[in-house]
């Protein structure tokens, strides 16, 4: 037998990038289940649609770029992007918006920048931001109300109809999200009055709290599997909490902390979007700054912006900063008195 001639190390940990992505997908299952339970079948359809489009687009682009298709599809990165995008979209988003967002995410945000690992911006969030800016009306009026307060739950065929054809009856199913509602009502009402709205349920925000807890559980699983480190989620949540306490201690005037943490896409963002390694900062200190920056921007946009949620913009803003943060947050190497920071040659 011919002896192999390669340089060390010879042992590698079994597993591939595809395996990592599969873990991420697995960790999203509780969140998907909670979303479906509380908001109907819409998300399942969106996921299916986005995944099909994403994989198709990925294969097509790989074909055009003359890359081996099977090899790259196996990394599952397109699937993860698609699922994240679908989860961020309102469940009853019209089909063509989902397709536009997915295509943009895969073709422009990912492959035009060089493919997996080279894209500076989170593709799912680019896709989301594009359609949010371009089609604000359907994007802000497609959130279903939590199933428990609907007279008729949204079945699979209802969802299909609403997403793919008839949208006339949509108002019967949709509702503003609690974050949005609170923000708009707080100008004229007190906290006690606002929370009487059935959308807040008996807890913090009907359904949303469970969705967020489910994503939190999935995120903790990934932490335990060492798929990413604690830095980004922790600093993200810490910054968001700190801001909301600092500005929003008075729940008669501002959205309270509990709602910031457990409503909207907060946990999805903390554990699945902000942690997208490709577009995040990579140094330990850099990750802390990066996560905190996202938390801060989320609060700022939620509090003073006009969009209902802010994960996408906050993440994209920090994507901009990530390379710069990295350059200034190199860790101190073994044997060095202090860390080298900044651009080489300018110390």
């Amino acid at each position: 037998m011919k002896l192999l001639n390669i340089s060390s190390p010879h042992a590698t940990r079994p597993g591939t990038t595809g395996g990592v992505m599969q873990q991420v997908l697995l960790a999203m299952l509780p969140g998907i289940a909670a979303l479906t339970y509380f908001f109907g079948m819409g998300h399942i359809i969106q996921i299916a649609l986005a995944v099909i489009v994403a994989v198709g687009a990925e294969a097509a682009v790989l074909y055009i770029r003359k890359k081996p298709i099977g090899f790259f599809l196996k990394d599952y990165s397109a699937v993860v992007t698609a699922v994240l995008l679908a989860l961020a979209l309102p469940p009853l988003t019209p089909w063509w918006i989902t397709i536009v967002a997915t295509l943009f995410a895969i073709v422009v945000a990912k492959h035009l920048y060089g493919g997996l690992g080279q894209n500076p911006f989170n593709p799912a969030m680019i896709g989301f931001a594009l359609v949010l800016i371009s089609f604000p009306v359907p994007m802000t009026t497609s959130w279903t109300a939590p199933t428990p307060i609907l007279e008729n739950a949204i079945g699979f065929s209802d969802a299909v109809t609403l997403i793919f054809s008839q949208r006339e009856t949509i108002d019967a199913y949709t509702m503003a999200t609690p974050l949005d509602l609170y923000k708009h009502k707080v100008a004229v009402a007190t906290a006690d009055e606002i929370t009487l709205d059935p959308i807040f349920g008996s807890g913090i925000a009907l359904g949303w709290e469970w969705v967020n807890i489910a994503f939190l559980i999935g995120g903790l699983y990934l932490l335990w599997r060492k798929i990413f480190t604690w830095h980004i989620p922790v600093s993200y949540l810490a910054a968001l909490t700190a801001c909301s306490i600092l500005f929003g201690w008075d729940s008669d005037r501002f959205v309270p902390t509990s709602l910031h943490i457990l409503a909207g896409a907060t946990m999805l963002g903390a554990f699945f979007i902000a942690t997208d390694p490709v577009t995040a900062s990579t140094t330990p200190l850099g990750k802390l700054i990066y996560g905190a920056g996202i938390g801060l921007f989320i609060y700022v946009i939620r509090a003073w912006g006009t969009y209902p949620d802010a994960i996408a913009f906050a993440v994209l803003l920090m994507n901009f900063a990530a390379p710069f943060i990295d350059q200034y947050t190199q860790p101190r190497t073994y044997g060095h008195a202090k860390a080298k920071r900044g651009l080489p040659g300018k110390e």
Binding site: P9, F71, L116, F228, H336
Partner: protein, 737 residues
Amino acid sequence: MSLLHFELHDFRGGIHPEEHKHQSTELPIASAGIPSVIVLPIGQHIGAPSSPVVKIGDKVLKGQIIAEPQGFVSTALHAPTSGTISAIEPRPIPHASGMSDLCIEITPDGEDTWIEHHGVKDYLDTAPAELVNIIQHSGVAGLGGAGFPSHIKLNAPAEKITTLIINAAECEPYITADDMLMREHADQVIKGIEILVHILNPDRCLIGVEDNKPEAINALNKAMGTTRDDTHKIHVVPVPTKYPSGGEKQLIQILTGKEVPAGGIPADIGVVCQNIGTAHAIHNAVVLGQPLVSRITTVTGKACAQPRNYQTLLGTPISHLLKLAGVDHNQMNRLIMGGPMMGFTLQSEDIPIIKTTNCILAANHEELPNPELAQPCIRCGMCTEACPAQLLPQQLYWFAKSSNLEQVEAHNIADCIECGACSYVCPSNIPLVQYYRFAKGEIRQANADKIKSDRAKERFETRLARQEREAAEKEAKRKARAEAAAKKQAEKKAAAEASGASTNTDSSSTTSSTEAPLPDMALLQKKLDAAKTAVEKSKEKLAAAEAEGSDKAELFKNAVEKSQQKMKDAAKAIADARKQMKASENTSSSHANEKGDPNTPERLKNKLELAESRLTTAEERLAAAQAENSDKVDAYMTAVNAQKERVQAAKDALNSVLANSNTPPINETASVAKPSPNIEQLEQKVRAAQTRVDKASERLEMAKAQGMDTIDALQLGLDKQKSKLADAKKQLEEAQS
């Protein structure tokens, strides 16, 4: 005394690869016996190679010195068994690059007769300097890692040594040589450590053992009960199992909490680190008076029927050990010297065991499968988490890949210990360490290019002058050759005309053979020229060696004589040839044979066939790659196209020659003779470069040892030489393939 609680400090990063250690600890250490041949490279340690003091045919006894240390940073070499010196010549040595170096070959007589030797009984009352001297002359070099001559670290360091660390962590998977040594020879190991303590007189001595070796830890503790040392300085400290805890820097961090400053040595922070195997060798040298002639080597891997540790004579060919361990060659897919994390693959089983060989890993396909195709880096940061040097491996990777050397350096690539932890965890299976090695080489090159110290400049200029001179000479020779070739052609023509179809009476060859009927003057002339150059070169070397007072002068002298002999032979051949030619000229005058040299079309045909077969292979590869959807398709495609062009070119050449074969190319002989000398020249270049590297590193070590302030300059010089060596090797490889 070892039950004291030690505050351990963790090092950042690290990994927990599968250990695979139990396979080779099931059986006690066995003797590997005496192999049929022993091959000892003269440079088994860092620093200057030792210089042979024996001749071919000499009878040697076991333990007899066969090569002496050259300078301070060098150590001796002893005969591992009794026998006869059967060769002193370059052989492949254990090195990642698969290079060759001077080796001494011994044919054992099977008696294993020791030379007379005796140890120092009252070693704890002997002056440290004397002990250090014994250690150097016993050939003890670091048995764990790079093979740094042990006496250097023991020689009155400038700083006060507060902590002596004995590295018994043995963190690499598979390797159990130190483990078994501690289990079976704990008494001797502890005695060796006592000697080290006596020499260095540190405040404390810590033996760091990974806690996955409880038997070894117990054995050491038990042995300490009987120690003569009553200062209670020596402690066995179990450290948590985590790769690379056995890295010198990491172990120091674990045990002392201090970091070796970047670019510094452990002594800078009052620490000396020695391997446990070295301590054992020191015991043998001092207490028993036995030089280092054997070591314990783990032979393991799934291709072995019975993995085991062997007490192995230095110089034992690996094939001997593989046979003992019952290696199934059909299973063996990778043969590694060292462990799976930092070892290097071997291409031949004839490579000998040397002082640093702690493990031979004969792995099958299942345990070390062929590497998977690298996927893109997803910046997951797992490598950052794993890096014990607190580097940012993925940043280094991106910068190295784009050859952004400035950034690579700014990210402290120099502090990478090439432990491989980053590559190990990378989910995309990127061979990160390979990129770092490449980048380090590039940086060295760039740095070397930058220095323009007066001396370097001067050297550069003289070299330039010499090169110019040589080039001019070469040009002159080339002209002479061309003329000779032209003349030859003319002569040949004449000769052919004269001889016609009849056999040549003078020459042993016949006209019907494919050989040219007459001696090839140009070829002979070329040989003579080559011999002349060789003489000049070896004379130069001899002069240099003499000037430096090098012990190699003797060797070079031999070389000069040899090449002079060759030159004489060549000259004689030419003279003979001339005579012969004249003789044939006299008898010949007939019509022209249009086939000036029947070789030409034939050779072209061969070439064409070769090119065609290469094309087939390339096409097959391409097809395979396409079938697998590999991303190498493009590369193969280009290769196939290039090959096609080559085939076409060969065809054209052949056709044109066949078409007008009455005008044979004039410089045919020259071009035919070319390839082999080219390789030889390159080999020579490599060897010369190697010598220069060795010399430079010797000087550097010397400077380091004496704390001279020329270290930096020397380091740069060394790096430059190394990169040159690498270049030369590359050229040679290219030429060979």
